[in-house]
Amino acid sequence: MDKPVEVSAASDTGETLRLRYAFSLSLFFNERIRIESAYGGARTHRSYVAPIGGEVFGPRLQGKVLPLAGADYGFSRGFDAHYMLQADDGSLIYIRNRGLMRRWDLDTGEALPPTAPNPDRPIRRTMRVAPFFDAPVGRHDWMNRTVFIGHGHRYPDPDHSIFTYYEVL
């Protein structure tokens, strides 16, 4: 077993917060639908991106993402996704993946406004998420009583995202 991946920080009064890597999701997509100017102006949108499948891997959960059992219903400021996972023991686990996305210009490294429309050229996107899970009573129900945060990255060819989840200890 590899050493656990942990991150921690302390406040000025010595309160500490620790994160420990729990598991990851890969999500593969083949369609992105955008509703432009969805709510309140030219720079707003609502999008729909549904996974055709993916893997769950890591120390605390292994399994797969059920195909077309949910989607990311993203919007200008961030995203709000619902997916159904299936653990290796057959348990179905619901994830609500709420998060924020920052957009960066690849050439200049500058931050682009959260409501900027998609440029034609590629940009870098970094995602941070605060998910929650509904797991059945049993070996996965610790997920119902734990706060998680996550890191997300989007990759082209094939179109997929990988989310890395940490338990907030």
Binding site: L17, G58, M101, R102, N144, V147, H151, P158, L169
Partner: protein, 152 residues
């Protein structure tokens, strides 16, 4: 039904995050009231006032602007659901909301926080930053301290 071929995951690299202390809120709270509902106990604890202090944000809580509206579930966890307003040292109003989990069994009290700040103001960074935190309730239950950490 359409069958899809799902590719192999090309890389299983662990996405790295950074954690940095941002600020602390010391909130004075009133006595907690519980309402027994069919979904569990809905808690209400008003935040009377308080202060924000730390390297990234300083200010005061807008008096009586909200509180903790958690749901005590039958599995022993309390779903945190906190809403209040704050005024920064620059006079700007912020909306702050927490969601998270509290467990009375072992004192676990962790949350993620969501902010609405003016889009063009000095605190606009709060609008697209993930913040995680830890809470502590004073033994006499008159004060809750929240420590906020930026997840970079």
């Amino acid at each position: 039904m359409t069958e899809f071929t799902v590719p192999e995951t090309p890389t299983k690299k662990v996405g790295e995050v950074k954690l940095e202390f941002a600020f602390r809120i010391d909130a004075q709270v009133e006595t907690q009231h519980n309402t027994a509902t069919s979904r569990g106990d809905r808690l209400f604890q008003r935040i009377i006032g308080g202060t924000i202090s730390g390297p990234m944000l300083n200010g005061t809580l807008h008096p009586r602007s909200g509180g903790e509206f958690g749901l005590g579930r039958t599995d022993g966890a309390i779903e945190l659901n906190t809403h209040f307003l704050a005024r920064t040292e620059h006079g700007e109003m912020l909306y702050i909301s927490h969601s998270g989990i509290r467990r009375d069994t072992d004192g676990y009290f962790r949350f993620t926080a969501y902010f609405d700040a003016e889009g063009e103001g000095p605190h606009a960074w709060l609008n697209d930053t993930l913040i995680a935190g830890t809470g502590r309730i004073e033994p006499d239950a008159s004060k809750i301290s929240f420590d906020y950490f930026l997840v970079g």
